[in-house]
């Protein structure tokens, strides 16, 4: 077992973990943060996307021990003070989710995009979104929702 210290959504956790434990499984099973979803487990579908030290990453492609000392944000940290994050509110307004499996990963990647570039164009949003698989929505409502928050719709 390896000692691990990470800050997740503002709270510091110290845990002893197996070196082989994936970061996605650490978040879900050790910390109980099941908002991060696990789809393909080989970095294609994007469902497990989180923010790690301010970058959108796939938590299924990292070991938990690689995140030692890092700051992580998951979908559970998006809403503040009982209020939906503007992206979450826009997703609801545009019906940008149906089953919701891909949603948490897309929300984290979109939050990251908006933080890095406050006014992404529709093409830039589609480019970011092309790293995520959604089987329900046909993507267009997701692009609409992100573009609305970006003010570029």
């Amino acid at each position: 077992m390896t000692a691990l210290e990470v800050t997740v959504n503002g709270r510091t956790h110290r845990e002893d973990v197996e070196p082989r434990l994936l970061l996605s499984d650490f978040l879900r099973h050790t910390l109980g943060l099941t908002g991060t979803h696990v789809g393909c487990e080989h970095g294609v579908c994007g469902a497990c996307t989180i923010r790690l030290d301010g970058a959108a990453v796939r938590s299924c492609l990292l070991l938990a021990v690689q995140a030692d000392g890092c700051t992580i944000e998951t979908v559970e940290g998006l809403a503040a003070n009982g209020e939906l994050h503007p992206l979450q509110a826009a997703f609801r307004e545009h019906h940008a989710l149906q089953c919701g499996f891909c949603t948490s990963g897309i929300l984290m990647a979109a939050a990251n995009l908006l933080e890095q570039d406050g006014t992404p164009t529709r093409d830039e949003i589609v480019d970011m979104l092309s790293g995520h698989l959604c089987r329900c929505t046909g993507y267009e409502p997701i692009v609409d929702a992100i573009a609305q928050v970006a003010g570029t719709s």
Binding site: C40, H95, L129, G131, R135, G138, Y139
Partner: protein, 126 residues
Amino acid sequence: MRVLDYVSVHDAGRLLNPLIVEGQVRGGFAHGVGAALFERIVYDEDGNLLTGTFMDYLCPTAADVPSLRMEHLETPSPFTALGAKGLGEGTTMSAPVAIANAVADALGVDALELPLTPARVWELLA
């Protein structure tokens, strides 16, 4: 190959929640585009699945799904209390057919196999 325009019209009776209706049509359309252009299950001659991961089995992404024009007819069903009919993933069925027919018409062929991968379209052109 690019889909330049696509129009989808359904009669789902009375639309109880237009957002859900449009979500089903858009999602079904994305599935249909996948079936028409990308998604293919391949086995080798020993029966091993060669397309068991998303690296080998292509699902349409945001950049692959063309924009969609959508219209609705509302003929209330006389058989249900609220006049609604079903619209679960309606366009899933029609999109592969429409895209296949467009390609068949453009190339002057009357038999083709889905998905229309670049290699298959190339063979049709030969």
